[in-house]
């Protein structure tokens, strides 16, 4: 009896580790494989999928830089994503504060509208957006994508922020008002500093979602001025149809920055994603 339970404990442990190792490999395997392959020559890639590169050669990266302005796409991404993070955080910081503190007529309407759009599929509204943007003259511009991304971030950020503000006691504000502070002073000097952790959560969430966004970037751009990094891959797929080796380099360059950021900011990223999922 004792013996058999010891055996079952050990075998359970083995199964557990096989499970953990299997899924870690499945998750990282394709990326590691692409990374190794990106240093192989065209001939080496074609001769064997599982060999090591004969030397650490960077021609694929050179080709990737040559055929598409990937540095420009990267800069576009930084500008578009950076601005949209700022806009979303600023707008949501204001709007959520009002919702969390005051009662007014339109409040339920606002909450209802925002929660309705939380689950809205992006594709469903893309054609009208395309038409509206063309009319406004912001199709295929960075400003256009910034507007969409900022709005896209509102629903989830809104709920994360509203629930964060509710954890901040109103006592401080009350005494500030009694001391004669104005609304703006109170908001700026008392509330915002206290709300910083919530704002960081929202900013990270917005960063991840927009940095990886593909569909709107595909629908709302047509040239190099506003193409972002994920959409650059689409371009590479077309251009490098026959030059796979450069495609390996391109995909590695798209993926690595994200992985680095994730590993460095791991704890915060996981917390943000969890908050976004649970509160939104």
């Amino acid at each position: 009896m004792e013996k058999s339970s010891a055996v079952s404990v050990i075998s359970a442990k083995i199964v557990k580790y096989i499970f953990m190792i299997f899924f870690s490999l499945i998750a990282t395997g394709p990326i590691v494989w692409a990374f190794i392959s990106s240093f192989k020559t065209y001939a080496e890639i074609n001769s064997s999928a599982l060999s090591w590169p004969s030397s650490f050669h960077l021609d694929n990266y050179r080709a990737a830089f040559q055929y598409a302005p990937i540095a420009k796409y990267f800069l576009n991404s930084v500008i578009i994503v950076g601005t949209s993070v700022l806009v979303t955080v600023a707008l949501v910081a204001m709007c959520s504060y009002i919702i969390s503190r005051f009662e007014f007529k339109m409040k339920t309407v606002i909450i209802l509208l925002i929660s309705a759009s939380l689950m809205l599929p992006a594709q469903a509204i893309s054609q009208p957006l395309f038409a509206i943007f063309q009319k406004l003259g912001i199709f295929d511009t960075k400003a256009g994508l910034i507007i969409v991304y900022s709005a896209m971030g509102i629903p989830m950020s809104f709920f994360v922020m509203t629930s964060y503000y509710k954890t901040i006691s109103t006592a401080l504000e009350e005494s500030a008002y009694i001391d004669g502070a104005t609304f703006l002073q109170t908001f700026w000097h008392i509330i915002l500093p206290l709300a910083k952790p919530g704002l960081v959560t929202v900013a990270l969430l917005q960063f991840i979602n927009t940095w990886n966004e593909f569909y709107f970037a595909l629908m709302l751009t047509s040239g190099d001025t506003a193409r972002t990094i994920p959409i650059a891959l689409n371009y590479y797929m077309g251009t490098f149809a026959n030059n796979y080796s450069a495609l390996f380099a391109a995909v590695v360059m798209t993926v690595l920055p994200t992985i680095f950021v994730f590993i460095i900011l791991q704890r915060q990223v996981m917390e943000s994603l969890t908050a976004g999922a649970v509160k939104g």
């Binding site: 557990k16 953990m20 990282t28 609304f183 990886n212 891959l233």
Partner: protein
């Protein structure tokens, strides 16, 4: 709270948010609803045409296939995929050696651009230089015709499915966070009473995961109703219509056929399906959650 000019501040602080909202959400939704009942192409203005668009798509076999595929993916993702994330969380919950590395590694596919995932799998499974050939050879299968997993209608659907179904790291961290919030005293009491580890999980951890499981299922379903990037990068809905889903069908109607009326009718269907799913899932999982959500 007594605030001077309260009304003014309410308006000033909420209006910017609402304007952006109106441009990007409200106006397009109204347009989608209206133009789905119109004859409307790239070259013509919307003109009311009744339910013609809906009649057209309902009579199109590809559309029915894309609804079927979308629903199959929703079903698989909200059962197998979410459960996989839960199982991983149960394994990692007790912090076995290396659990942090596994958690990070498993999360990586969920953090990189989905378009990149698509490209990577296209390369990985390429019949001439991908890993399929060496894999088959290790199994002792030598063949001149290495199967093209994305290009062959026999395999394409399941190949595409695998590119997202196994990657449940996002759900894992959500479950782990929820498990971390469970009162330690409950576990302590169970241990004192002599409960075995699997009994603890079965009778304490799992029942407490009900609500968050519902949240994960909701998110997974919504993601599948709008799944686009990976399919677009790998098969574009093909070969034939084997991997077609609503977003790809809509995209094709709008960009290849230039038929905006039809695209927006599909959009209406997509919104309605998403809505029904979300409401049904909430019903299923969150009956007794009323008080909790308001917190």
């Amino acid at each position: 709270m007594k605030v001077k000019n309260k009304g003014v501040w309410i308006v000033l602080f909420t209006t910017p948010c609402m304007i952006l909202f109106a441009i990007v959400y409200a106006a397009p939704i109204v347009t989608v609803l209206y133009t789905s009942f119109c004859k409307y192409t790239t070259f013509s203005r919307p003109e009311f045409s009744g339910i013609k668009n809906f009649a057209q798509i309902l009579g199109d076999k590809d559309f029915l296939v894309s609804i079927k595929n979308t629903l199959i993916w929703v079903l698989l993702q909200s059962t197998f995929h979410v459960t996989l994330g839960l199982v991983m969380a149960l394994v990692l919950r007790r912090k076995p050696k290396g659990w942090k590395i596994v958690r990070t590694a498993y999360m990586i596919p969920n953090i990189i651009p989905t378009a990149a995932t698509g490209v990577m799998f296209t390369l990985l499974l390429n019949p001439s230089f991908g890993v399929v050939k060496p894999f088959l050879e290790t199994l002792g299968i030598h063949t001149d015709q290495v199967p093209n997993l994305f290009g062959n209608s026999k395999y394409a659907f399941w190949t595409v499915t695998v590119t997202w179904m196994l990657y449940s790291g996002f759900n894992t961290i959500i479950f782990l966070a929820e498990m971390g919030a469970i009162d330690k005293e409950i576990y302590e009491a169970a241990r004192v009473d002599g409960a075995r580890p699997w009994q603890v999980d079965r009778y304490i951890t799992l029942p407490l995961m009900r609500n968050i499981f519902g949240t994960c299922v909701t998110l997974a379903s919504v993601a599948m109703v709008s799944q686009f990037d990976i399919i677009y990068m790998t098969t574009k809905g093909g070969p034939g219509n084997t991997t077609l889903n609503l977003p790809i069908y809509l995209y094709k109607a709008a960009t290849l056929e230039n038929n905006y009326g039809k695209a927006n009718a599909v959009g209406v269907v997509q919104i309605v399906i998403g809505l029904i799913l979300v409401l049904a899932i909430q019903r299923l999982f969150m009956e007794r959650e009323e008080g909790r959500r308001k917190k």
